[in-house]
Amino acid sequence: MKRATMMFKSPRTLTWWRRLAVMTRKELWQLFRDLPLMAFVVYSFTLSVYLTGSGIQTQLRNAGLLVYDEDHRASSRELIRRFHPPYFRFDGELFGADEGVRRLDRGESLLVLDLPPRFHESLHGGESVAVQLLVDTTNSAQGLSAAGYATRIIGEFGREAALARIGAANDSSPNRPMVLNDHRVWYNPNQTESWFESVSHLLRMITIFAIMLPAAALVREKEHGTVEQLLVSPLTPFQIMLSKVLAMTAAILVATAVALFGIMRPVFGVPVRGSVTLFFALTALFVFTTAGMGLLAASLARNQAQVGMMTLLAVAPMLLLSGITTPLEAMPVWVRALMALSPLRYFIDIAHGILFKGAGLPILWPMAVSMAMLGVALFGFGMWRFRRQFR
């Protein structure tokens, strides 16, 4: 401890830090003066977070249902009524069997329910009856989900009708053996989608900016030849790289604070159950690690067009496969293995842990350590390449 303070106070290290500070300030100025870029930073962390948080629905909503009712009795009408919003949208009745497929072809509706003649009679006469359901599975996930809801509704309706007939249909105090499932959804009891989607979007934006801004900034110096000027100055390559990362980290942390406390908490009521300090500290670590990927790309690229393509090549899989858009559990094993290289895969657990679950370091440390190790490796490798190029 004593030695560290001494080192910090020695004139050489002081100059070292001062130089780093000057360079960081230069980077920040360069960033702030790019007005179109700043406008998009502001947009991405405010309006864009709002639009995504309020707009994205991942659960089944508004699935268009067409009905070909060949019976038109009380039972069929009652069953149709059970397909209700927000899950289903009644798109009208059909007057022929072929019309259904034609309407599905046009993609206006998602399902066709075909109720046979004598539906009511069969149901009340104790016969078993088949109903047909046509489902558009062009989008397989949506189609399966709609089919699942629909068969559940039909099954429950049938069972109730049958049990009512024999006088045994009181579900609240069943006089028959039955497992009553009682769900408790934790951390987000009402399953408010805006919480998840706005956090996901924030992480998405942090990732894009953290990887691309420093990468482009570094390659720009290479492309313009200004990096030669920097290298003949008393600055070390490490300082040149670090100053870029520090400047971008500072800008991103401020933007994150604006998104969290200006949009997500007041508008959507996103909870911050854990420590705010820990959240920002780990966000900084995440930005640092992700920036390491950008710097690595920057050391491989010769111009900004190349670095843009390289970083995008890595960013798109990170955004789609790290678990912020679709659950990681769904992914094949090799994707999950590949995503061990994505800092976002760790940070999503950290962000959800701190914000929603109120978790602290005792639970989150494995994620934080993995992320830090990844960051050091990326940074170190990028540094090594960068040094070798200019020697």
């Binding site: 995504t52 991942t58 009856v129 006089n175 028959r176 053996p177 067009a305």
Partner: protein
Amino acid sequence: MNLRRIAAVVSKEWREVTRDRMFLLLAFLMPALWMIVFGYGLVLDVENIPFAVVDRDRSALSRDYLHRFIESRYFDFQGYVAVEEAADALLQSGKVRAVIVVPEQFQERLSAGTGVGVQTLIDGTFPLRTDITKGYVIAITAAFNEELLITHLARSQGLSRRQAETLARPITPEVRYLYNEEVRGTWSIVPALVMFTLMVSSPLLTALGIVREKETGSIYNIYSAPVSRIEFLAGKLAPYVLISMLNVIILWLMALLIFKVPFKGNPVLFLAVSMMFVLSSTGIGLIVSLLVRTQQAALIITVVVSTVPTILFSGLLFPVSSLSPTSRFLAHLFPGMYYANVCWGVFLKGVGPEVLWRDGLALVLYAAALRLIGYRLFTKRPRS
């Protein structure tokens, strides 16, 4: 318009693109690589949800009930937990996403013919996963209940098992899946990926190509050359349109040969609409490049205005019909949704212009509008 001058711009631009080997390689590698990674990797059907169990009853019937979860491919059993507090910690660390708590007297009460409550604790951080988990739990419990009910009815009402079954399950839903009869995830995702990869890669190619001239100052050669605005833009964009069209064909072949997705529609229609889409997506790159000065800004802005809306609003992951009204409106502002509809239409549905004309027309208008805006924005007399 002078064709020779356009040809000159094209050849200059083409040479610039092809001489940057890395850039050229990435321009073709990126879409193909993404097609492979996302085509195999982007699975949307949630399975293997990790869960733990607190079994307070430890009876034959409780094991029977829990086995339905343990053996289901939708769940991934992580083990028994003795107390609920330990389950809390597992949920909090994200090691499990659900915990099923079976109470004491589970078997006793069911055998006595009464209801018994089973509690399921579900991690709510990811509403989609929560919803799907809930759905699986409901479905498995319903199947178990049906079994109980059949046995119960057969015994109490003195019915044969067959009669009891009819009583417990009077309506049989016969589900028929259309267009993707075996409900294969890859068939759904691959046509949409043709849209996604192009929508993300081609605006970036274009934007970087034009801003580079602005940033390095070589654009001043154009300002002082006799080439007119329209000639310059046409020639400048041509290589990027060509690269993107080649990518359309590569992705198309990949979809057919590697992923074995059926192609039921008209190839000419597909290529024509793809051309309109490529003109739209490169148009976005053009507009961005005319508004900014640095490649850094062009890079970020293109990603923010093309990649992000394409992930969110194109229908690739979230069906447009489920979005909120505002987002549905936003979805209509980006070309991705229209082209995704066309891709699904020609690959899986086999529908023709009678259905797809609206999407095609939207893309034509989009391409034309972007060109017009680009033409108005581009000036050979910069203000500063």
